[in-house]
């Protein structure tokens, strides 16, 4: 019953999508309001149908309806309810259904939100979204059908992959990731819509697209941080980023989207970089599809690989179509859109953004090249090579360090033109921060060039961005007589875009500092202990108390009880475990992590004697790991703030007629004016 409802709903949605896309294109070309309404009706009803199919799948999962093939694949009576629900996206077919649900949801939301806007780009954009949705529906009724009928109906299923049941973050990472990936379809669709309808000539579409881009970016940032955190807590090697192809696939659109969010500011203010921005948003979307392709085609082996099979060819066809169409559209319309640009000053925020865009693009290209190079090398040389962490670290660290510098310099550079003396004044404190950061790192024992540069420029950028809040609040206090808290609050509320951006910068810097510290100052030791023996790592004593075993439903756990001893007393217990599941022959490690703001103590159980007479453990002491997750949270908070719609409408007019001028006497008042115009 569930299966029949599900697949029928999907089939009807597929047919409707084609009809709707055609209707919407016709509506735009003929300027027909009737076709327009019909088209939007299709968007809403397609979403309704896909929602019904998703609900049917959820019902089947929760009620353990093993007649549905997907439930037979990932369901199990012994799985707790929460994991049963999240097994909706645990395997290939379910994840595609979930993707389609989100995509049609966003399409419906976009149609609803933008329905009153003049022009025809919304119709084309909705048609594009229906087209993308149609592709996923084709997969769902074809090679990735989750609603196949299983007969005879099995009594029970194997349950989802044990790795997915180990940690609550696994519930959170895939939905966030899909929200991010699918979210970028909307700006892409609007870009295409604006191009085709001729509305890319003015910059209206950029304003509409900004909100969607930032929202998708927030989801993607949260997804990446959640993925890193989960990987750290679960996989047992004490690291959080392995430059795995699928990790890279989520990182690349994040990079291009970051570039896009900054360069559309230049487009909005100066009317420049139109074609470049279109390329960026196309690249972002193509990279998200590439990411899905890499996960599901089996083309590169990866921790994330779902499966191999014919589905890869479907994705390849889709990528080809998207690439060819987008490249053709942008290149074809480019000459009309180019209108030349002008910058007032080489030293300006616009230039900083341009340099930032260059660096982000080079970084994206480097990661893409490294990820795909094994394929290229095999094609050309016939030899298999690996491109792993050391390559990516070596090639991206220099760029990251320069980016940190830019994040520090950017806020100090005004739009249009810079008073050199003012710039020097603004950079004074950050330069102090640079020196302090370098000294602290040297004192702590860092000797690696890039580590030192990262700490130095990280401190530089941190002081620079915090200074914006500080001086802004201080000037408000002087100008309006407010006290600190309300000055800060009104400052931020008065220009959420600006200060949200600075807050996001601060979050990013905090994360980068955490990454730099935890890798530079990491100490690790691998040792075999008998019960009662202890090992000292970085001044902390770890004593093995005993090795134990336990049988749960569906899994056997072996654990080691490690006592953290300080001053002769047991301060804490760390219990790393290994879980042996029936469905897999390799055990799933569960390291024990003790986090404080200053450092993480991380113990992983590597091996043990079956009689419990010894255990081999790996102990890591990594400073400032918690800062990585905290920084991620701050990034999302800042970006959320920047997403908030502006209240004032007068601001753009003010910028055009009163460009800021430096003057000693009016510096405080000017700062308030600058906030409004930024």
């Amino acid at each position: 019953m569930n299966g029949a409802i599900g697949i029928s709903a999907l089939r009807v949605a597929l047919a409707l999508s084609f009809v709707g896309a055609i209707a919407l294109v016709a509506a735009a070309r003929r300027n027909s309001a009737a076709l327009r309404s019909a088209g939007f009706a299709v968007v809403y009803s397609s979403f309704g149908l896909v929602a019904i199919a998703t609900l049917a799948m959820l019902t089947a999962l929760i009620s353990h309806d093993f007649s549905v093939s997907y439930v037979a694949q990932v369901g199990s009576r012994s799985t707790p309810l929460i994991f049963t629900i999240i097994s909706l996206w645990a395997a290939l077919e379910g994840s595609i259904l979930f993707w389609a649900f989100l995509l049609f949801g966003f399409a419906a939301l976009a149609a609803r939100i933008h329905r009153k806007e003049p022009g025809h780009s919304l119709e084309y954009a909705s048609a594009v979204l229906l087209g993308i949705g149609a592709f996923f529906l084709i997969l769902l009724v074809g090679p990735a059908n989750p609603f196949h009928v299983v007969s005879p109906v099995p009594l029970d299923g194997p349950g989802p992959n044990p790795l997915l049941q180990n940690h609550p973050l696994m519930a959170v990472h895939p939905p966030l990731l899909y929200l991010g990936y699918v979210g970028f379809s909307v700006p892409f669709a609007f870009a295409v819509g604006a191009l085709v309808s001729g509305e890319a000539q003015d910059d209206r579409w950029v304003r509409g697209v900004r909100g969607w881009t930032i929202a998708a970016w927030i989801f993607l940032s949260a997804a990446i941080i959640a993925g890193m955190w989960w990987s750290y807590e679960v996989l047992g090697w004490g690291g959080y980023w392995a430059w795995d192809p699928v990790e890279n696939a989520s990182f690349m659109p994040w990079l291009t989207a970051t570039a896009f969010m900054h360069s559309i500011m230049v487009q909005q203010r100066r009317g420049m970089l139109r074609v470049w921005n279109l390329n960026l948003i196309v690249a972002t979307f193509v990279l998200t599809v590439l990411g899905t392709f890499l996960t599901r085609s089996g083309i590169l082996s990866s921790v994330h690989a779902f499966t191999q099979g014919t589905i890869g060819y479907y994705f390849l066809g889709f990528i080809a179509l998207v690439l060819v169409a987008s490249l053709a559209l942008v290149a074809g319309y480019a000459p009309e859109l180019r209108r030349g640009g002008a910058l007032d000053d080489v030293l300006s925020r616009e230039t900083a953004f341009l340099v930032g865009n260059l660096l982000l693009s080079v970084m994206t290209f480097t990661v893409l090249l490294g990820t795909l190079f094994p394929l290229v090398a095999e094609l050309v040389r016939g030899v298999r090579v690996s491109v792993g962490g050391p390559f990516f670290n070596q090639m991206t660290l220099p760029i990251i360090v320069v980016m940190l510098f830019l994040i520090g310099v950017g806020p100090a550079l005004p739009w249009r033109r810079t008073d050199r003396a003012e710039l020097k004044r603004r950079l004074l404190a950050p330069t102090g921060g640079l020196i302090v950061g370098l000294l602290l790192a040297l004192l702590a024992g860092a000797r690696d060039l890039y580590a030192l540069l990262a700490f130095g420029f990280g401190a530089f950028a941190l002081v620079s961005n915090v200074q914006e809040f500080w001086t802004g609040a201080r000037d408000r206090m002087r100008a309006h007589g407010e006290h600190a808290a309300s000055a800060l609050g009104r400052l931020i509320a008065g220009n959420r875009h600006r200060y949200g951006g600075f807050l996001a910068h601060i979050g990013l810097i905090v994360s980068v500092l955490g990454i730099a510290a935890s890798s530079t100052f990491k100490t690790e030791r691998e040792i075999t202990l008998a019960p009662g023996e202890s090992v000292t790592v970085s001044g902390r004593v770890f004593r093995l108390e005993r090795v134990w075993g336990r049988q749960d439903m569906g899994r056997t756990s072996i654990g080691a009880d490690i006592a953290l001893v300080s001053g002769g007393r047991v301060v804490a217990h760390l219990e790393p475990e290994q879980h042996f599941y029936e469905s897999s022959d390799t055990p799933v490690p569960t390291p024990a992590v003790r986090s404080t703001a200053a450092r993480d103590l991380y113990v992983n159980l590597m091996a043990f004697k079956e009689d419990g007479s010894s255990a081999t453990i790996r102990v890591l002491v990594e400073p400032m790991v918690a800062w990585i997750w905290l920084g991620g949270g701050i990034v999302c908070l800042g970006a959320l703030l920047a997403l908030w719609p502006r209240r004032r409408r007068a601001a753009p007019a003010l910028a055009a007629t009163h460009p800021p001028r430096a003057s000693h006497a009016r510096r405080a008042a000017r700062r308030v004016a600058v906030e409004v115009t930024s």
Binding site: D244, L343, F405, R420, A421
Partner: protein
């Protein structure tokens, strides 16, 4: 600003060359006093370094050093044993390449066609920077409509 940027780019390129020619530092170790323990620490550090340059054959994308799998532990023992017997890191790597193929290295040896993966990003950076410099020059030399003939500042900001 252009000078700054050029210097910055040169510094970056230089840094990349330096990194290519040397090994990035690993964890910082404070040697303990007894000689035997010091020797073990140095061997530990060298094992860790060479193990980071080899990948775990049964894992996805983890180096020999990072991987907790049993085969990785055994391979690390082989690395340690060979280093202790006096082999150089290059010889140890060559041993594994002879058994597993080039795939066992965590990054491609920079010779022959493999140079592409190291050189292309640098070329793109250099090319992009050149285009950017060119474009910024073009964009900042368009005279603003109201600039007077004798005005010293023109399109540039005032300097104090």
């Amino acid at each position: 600003m252009i000078r700054l940027r050029r210097t910055g780019l040169l510094a970056m390129a230089g840094a990349i060359v330096v990194t290519l020619a040397s090994h990035a530092g690993g964890a910082q170790q404070k040697p303990a006093t007894p000689a035997a323990v010091v020797a073990e620490s140095i061997l530990d550090a060298r094992t860790r370094e060479v193990s980071s340059q080899l990948r775990c054959p049964v894992c996805q994308g983890l180096s020999l050093q990072d991987s907790p799998s049993e085969l990785s532990q055994q391979m690390r023992d082989v690395v340690r044993q060979q280093l202790a017997a006096g082999r150089t890191p290059a010889e140890v790597r060559a041993y594994f390449v002879g058994r597993y193929g080039e795939w066992i290295l965590t990054r491609p040896e920079p010779h022959g066609f493999n140079w592409v993966v190291y050189a292309l990003p640098l070329l793109l950076l250099a090319g992009g920077a050149w285009v950017l410099v060119f474009a910024v020059r073009k964009w900042t030399t368009v005279p603003p409509p109201l600039a007077g003939a004798g005005s010293p500042s023109g399109g540039r900001g005032t300097t104090a």
